[in-house]
C-alpha cells in the first residue's frame, strides 16, 4: 500500500483530479453537465469491476443494483416527500439489500448461470416498475421534485468528489488483503477455501460494497437528472454500457473502469453529429479494444510500465 503513494499511477491520478477540479473555472456548463454524468457512470463501472474483476462474478445486471438505489431514492422523494439526503442514504441501503439478494444465487451457481440470474433480476425490476406504475411512474419515468443544487459547477464538484472518494476506497480495497482473497476466491474458490479463507464472507462483502456504491451513485444521479426512468438507470442497455466501460478501461484495475466510463460518455457526445451511427462506432471501437487490447486502456499502460 505504501508503495502506491510513491508510484507513478498515484501522481498521475492526483494530477488528473486536480486538473479536473479546476475545470468549472473555464469550461462551459454543457461540458460540466456531460462530465458530471460521466463521473457517476465511472462509479458504476468501478463498483462493477470490484465484483467481476476481483470476485470473478459475471454480473450482467449492474443496473439491478443501480436501479434499486435510484428508484428507492426517487420514490421516497417524489411520493413521500422526504428530503434529499435521507433519500440518498436510504437509496444506498436499499441497494445493499438488493446486493444481498443478488449474492444468494452467486453462492450457489457460477459463470453463465449466475450471469443469467442477474439478467433476470434486471428484467424483473423492469417489469415491476412497469406493473406498479402508480408508485414508480411506469415507462414514462418518475419526476423528482427536489435537486441537490442547480449550480452546474457545484454539481460537477459533488460528482468529482464522490468519484474520487469512491475510487480511493474501491482501489484501496482491491489492493488490500481482502482484494487478494477475493481475487483468489474468484479464480479458484475450492483452493482458496482450502487455504482457510472464508469465501462466503468475502464474497458477501464484495457484493455489499459494490451494491453500496452503485446505489449511492444511482441515487445521486437521479437527483442530478431530476427524473428516474427505466431508460436511464435500469435498462439492460445501460448495464451493457457499464460493462463495456469496465472492459474498455481495463478490468481488474478499478481506476481504469472510471476512465473507460468517461471515455464512453465523452466519445458518445463527440459522435453525436454522426447521428444514429454513434452507438455503432462506440461498439465497434469497444470490440476492437476487446479483441486487440484485452487488458484495456489502463491494463495496456500498466503492463508497459511494468516491463520498462
Amino acid at each position: 500500500m505504501s508503495t502506491f503513494f510513491t508510484s507513478r499511477l498515484f501522481f498521475i491520478s492526483l494530477a488528473l483530479v486536480v486538473i479536473a477540479a479546476t475545470l468549472p473555472l473555464y469550461v462551459s456548463g454543457y461540458v460540466l453537465g456531460l462530465l458530471t454524468v460521466a463521473f457517476y457512470f465511472g462509479v458504476f463501472a468501478m463498483a462493477w469491476d470490484l465484483l467481476f474483476g476481483f470476485a470473478g462474478e459475471v454480473n450482467f445486471g449492474p443496473t439491478f443494483l443501480i436501479g434499486v438505489g435510484a428508484y428507492t431514492a426517487g420514490i421516497l422523494n417524489a411520493q413521500f416527500g422526504w428530503s434529499v439526503y435521507p433519500c440518498i442514504v436510504l437509496g444506498a441501503l436499499a441497494s445493499v439489500i438488493a446486493g444481498l439478494v443478488l449474492a444468494l444465487p452467486a453462492l450457489r451457481v457460477r459463470g453463465p448461470y449466475f450471469g443469467l440470474t442477474t439478467l433476470v433480476a434486471v428484467l424483473m425490476l423492469q417489469n415491476f416498475i412497469v406493473v406498479f406504475a402508480d408508485l414508480t411512474g411506469g415507462e414514462i419515468g418518475l419526476t423528482i421534485p427536489d435537486v441537490i443544487t442547480i449550480d452546474a459547477g457545484a454539481n460537477y464538484w459533488i460528482a468529482l468528489g464522490f468519484m474520487t472518494i469512491s475510487a480511493a476506497i474501491l482501489y484501496g480495497l482491491s489492493q488490500s488483503p481482502i482484494g487478494l482473497v477475493l481475487q483468489a476466491s474468484g479464480q479458484d474458490p475450492v483452493q482458496a477455501g482450502a487455504l482457510g479463507f472464508n469465501i462466503v464472507k468475502h464474497k458477501l462483502a464484495a457484493f455489499i460494497v459494490s451494491a453500496f456504491f452503485s446505489g449511492l451513485s444511482g441515487a445521486l444521479l437521479v437527483f442530478y437528472f431530476g427524473t428516474a426512468s427505466v431508460g436511464t438507470v435500469v435498462d439492460v442497455a445501460v448495464g451493457v454500457n457499464v460493462i463495456v466501460s469496465a472492459v474498455l478501461g481495463g478490468r481488474r484495475t478499478v481506476l481504469g473502469a472510471a476512465l473507460g466510463a468517461i471515455f464512453l460518455i465523452v466519445a458518445g457526445e463527440f459522435l453525436r453529429p454522426t447521428g444514429e451511427l454513434a452507438t455503432f462506432i462506440v461498439s465497434a471501437v469497444a470490440l476492437l479494444v476487446v479483441l486487440f487490447f484485452p487488458g484495456g486502456f489502463l491494463g495496456a499502460a500498466l503492463s508497459r510500465e511494468a516491463r520498462s
Partner: protein, 311 residues
C-alpha cells in the same frame, strides 16, 4: 418477446367467451410460439454444447435474417420464397462473420487468460450484436417489419380461426428440428459434432480437425437462426428493438433446459411458450414474461444446472 403482445390482443378480441374454444386457442397459439422458440434456442444450445460459446449476438442474427427477407421481398421484389432463402443466407453469412471476426480471435488469443475467455466471448458477441442492430436501424429504420408470409389465409381448427401461416410456422419448425436430429444422430458429420460436444480432446485424438467441426456447427446454427428469424418475421414481425428480448429469451430457455442439452431446450421452449401464452390469455398480456422469469429463478435455486443439464 414484447412484439408478440399485439398478436395476443388481436386474438383476444376475436375470441368469443367460450372457455373450450379459448383452451384450444391457447393450445394452438402456444404450440406455434413454442415451436418457434425451440427452433431459435436449438442452434444457440448446440454452439454452447460443442464449443462452450454463449453467442449474445443471437437475437441480432435472427433479426438480420428477417429484415433481409423483408427487404428482398418488398424492396427488390424477388418473391416470398427467394426472399426467405436470402434471409437464411444472410443469417448464415452473419453467423460465419461472428465466428471468424469475433469468437475465433478471442479463442485463439494468447493475451486473454483461458479462464477469462468466457466473459470475453460474452462481451465480444454482445458488442457485435449491438453493431448489427445499429446497422439494421441505420439502413432500415427502427420500424417493425412483417415479412410477407409464404402461405396466406385462415383456416378453422376445432372452431378456432387460425392463420395458415401459424400452422406453416409450427410445421416448418418441427420438420427442421427433426432434420437436425437426423443430421446429428444419423450422419458421420453429425456424429463428429456430437462427439465434440461430449469430449473435444477425444475427437482431436481420433484425427478430426476441431476447427472444421466448429465451422459445421456455426453453419448449422446460422441456418437454424435464419429460419427461425424469417419465420418470426412472417409470424409476428420484427424490428431492431427485438434484438435484446430475442437473445434474452433464447438465453433463458437454454439455461432453463440445461446449457448444452438440445432436448432440454426443446422441453424448456414449450414450457416457456405455453406459460407465456397462458398468462397472456388468462391474466393480461402486460404480465406475459413474468411467470417464465419467476420459474427460471425458481429452477436456478432448486436445480442450478437446469432441467436436463450436466455440469
Amino acid at each position: 418477446m414484447r412484439c408478440t403482445q399485439h398478436l395476443f390482443l388481436q386474438a383476444a378480441a376475436v375470441l368469443p367467451g367460450q372457455s373450450s374454444m379459448r383452451a384450444f386457442q391457447i393450445l394452438i397459439d402456444g404450440f406455434a410460439i413454442s415451436a418457434l422458440y425451440a427452433l431459435g434456442a436449438t442452434g444457440f444450445t448446440l454452439i454452447f454444447g460443442v464449443s462452450g460459446v454463449l453467442n449474445l449476438s443471437h437475437g441480432a442474427i435472427m433479426v438480420a435474417a428477417a429484415v433481409a427477407a423483408w427487404a428482398a421481398a418488398s424492396i427488390l421484389n424477388v418473391g416470398t420464397y427467394a426472399g426467405a432463402l436470402i434471409g437464411v443466407g444472410v443469417a448464415l453469412l452473419t453467423a460465419f462473420a461472428t465466428y471468424f471476426a469475433v469468437v475465433k480471435p478471442i479463442q485463439d488469443s494468447r493475451r486473454i487468460p483461458n479462464e477469462e475467455k468466457e466473459i470475453f466471448v460474452l462481451t465480444g458477441t454482445l458488442l457485435w450484436g449491438i453493431m448489427i442492430q445499429e446497422l439494421i436501424a441505420y439502413f432500415f429504420t427502427n420500424n417493425a417489419k412483417t415479412v410477407l408470409p409464404i402461405v396466406e389465409g385462415v383456416v378453422e381448427i376445432l372452431g378456432v380461426r387460425t392463420p395458415r401461416n401459424e400452422i406453416f410456422t409450427a410445421i416448418v419448425c418441427c420438420l427442421v428440428i427433426a432434420l437436425l436430429w437426423l443430421l446429428v444422430n444419423r450422419t458421420r458429420t453429425g456424429k463428429a459434432v456430437l462427439a465434440a460436444s461430449m469430449n473435444p480432446r477425444g475427437v482431436t485424438l481420433l484425427g478430426l480437425e476441431l476447427t472444421n467441426i466448429y465451422i459445421v456447427v456455426w453453419a448449422i446454427y446460422g441456418i437454424l437462426a435464419g429460419i427461425a428469424g424469417v419465420l418470426l418475421g412472417m409470424f409476428l414481425g420484427v424490428s431492431s428493438y427485438s434484438v435484446g428480448p430475442l437473445t434474452a429469451s433464447a438465453f433463458s430457455i437454454v439455461v432453463l433446459g440445461g446449457l448444452g442439452s438440445v432436448s432440454g431446450s426443446l422441453i424448456a421452449a414449450f414450457v416457456v411458450g405455453y406459460l407465456e401464452t397462458l398468462t397472456a390469455y388468462l391474466v393480461s398480456p402486460a404480465y406475459r414474461t413474468i411467470p417464465a422469469l419467476l420459474l427460471l429463478v425458481f429452477v436456478m435455486y432448486i436445480r442450478p444446472q437446469g432441467l436436463l443439464g450436466r455440469r
